[in-house]
Point group: C3
Chain length 205, copies 3
């Protein structure tokens, strides 16, 4: 096994923080308690990465990390003590879009570093980006992002695929990660602005 | 630890493929997008086996396998590009029944090979057979197979128990697996044909 | 890594049994079949501890244990064959409260023994205490304990935090565990008796 690339710690914590924020904001919007806000921040922030780490047999990234859990608690408390109009409008969707793209790239890169083959590595990236949000939606009892026609999982798949292809092509890793993340973010952003949707299954008469 | 028995690769891929098909068909019937079809095929195809591998501390079977992920993608695309009437009628239920029986046997056999004791090994078989479908149902927001009185989990339990007992009795492994899988499939098939149901709890007046 | 402390086996099995009972009773109250009763007993009894063990990279506690799975099956069959009025009234809630407090303490202690830092170790305790119940509620399709304002996850957090602080302070382990478990149980009990609730998010005008 090649050792995993040293991911920039600030980028890593930023990705976790924006994702945790999207979970915390959802809980606040549902007028939950501080405990639920913390739990939703945690699940959304680390859910996808935890599933990825379990599947690729890596130590789960946040369990022994001294920063991740405190950052998530901080995000939850900031959400709790601030008026939601600070974050109103499309804020939730855009924070989610950033987290989605960043996580998908980091997840694919980590899987590749652990020796996972390209196709499963791409799936690991999509899982990292989307599974936190899917668990969040299932816990909240609302239709999962998986079931909505908007371009969401697709953006994660774009970022993950570009990351895998660029890495295989031997391009400089940081460049690959940046371009792949921006591409997925742009696709998701375009979907948010113009309401782009994937076609639904329609082979039936 | 005894090394795990070499499972016939084609049987393994077939079990995964039919299970993935049942997930893909559900997503198509719900008129989802291609991305959802892929995700449902993946979750249903590998969900149960992944939970089993995590619990028995085995490397997750599909993550480093060169064939499983491509086969699942192929199943998803075949489902997407074909009219659902090709698969209409009871097709979905029967594909699910095959996957259920085959997975339960394979899961029990793998757990026993990893040195798990008989009772937990039987539970591992049931988990392998049923958990993919349970996650699929929870994601789809429909009542889980766990909550329906029809003989479903029971068929998995029959296959898993026969596999464990036959293995403990020292019978030839392939024979044990075949008989156990056929028995579970027949029980599930009988339930499909004659609508056999388990009794519900009724100790209350 | 310090070796994990030898948890008293009877306390461990008791915690699992009362939690499994709360799952089995829910399935019985929903007039499910014996198979569902077993599955709910299993998921509720070992769900939280399994997630904790996977996250801290410990062998999953019940998979190779000779007693846990049989005890859970026994609890499920006792529930099935007895009238529910034996367990009526607040029985379900109180069994759940005991399991919640005991599990949260055990989970935190185990995480600390595996070298997890205090903040994630507290989260592991909360996960151990609550995740079995959360999976149970999601499978049953009812609003999760996470979404209700009553003091539930909070009681787990109290037990887990007291356990971590007491352990860090170097107090005798069994005393710390007992006091932490009783504290969480009392808080949950007070919430049951006087319907104490956490305030909901209300920074919006």
């Amino acid at each position: 096994m090649t050792p995993p690339p040293a991911l920039p710690p600030l980028l890593d914590l930023t990705g976790i923080a924006v994702f945790a924020l999207s979970g915390a904001l959802l809980a606040a919007k549902m007028r939950q308690t501080i405990v639920s806000v913390v739990f939703f921040a945690l699940v959304t922030g680390v859910g996808g990465g935890s599933v990825r780490d379990l599947l690729i047999d890596a130590p789960v990234f946040w369990v022994r990390d001294p920063w991740v859990a405190p950052v998530i608690l901080m995000i939850a408390f900031i959400t709790w003590f601030t008026p939601s109009r600070w974050w109103e409008g499309k804020m939730l969707d855009w924070a989610d879009a950033v987290g989605l793209a960043v996580y998908s790239v980091l997840g694919t890169a980590k899987a590749l570093a652990y020796g996972v083959a390209p196709v499963p590595a791409i799936l690991m990236g999509v899982i990292t980006g989307c599974v936190g949000g899917i668990i969040r939606d299932v816990l909240a009892g609302r239709p999962s992002i998986l079931m909505r026609p908007e371009l969401y999982v697709t953006a994660a798949a774009l970022s993950a695929t570009m990351c895998a292809l660029g890495t295989l092509a031997g391009l400089p890793l940081f460049t690959v990660w940046a371009i792949a993340a921006v591409a997925g973010f742009c696709l998701r952003g375009a979907a948010l602005i113009w309401n782009i949707e994937l076609p639904a299954y329609s082979r039936d008469p």
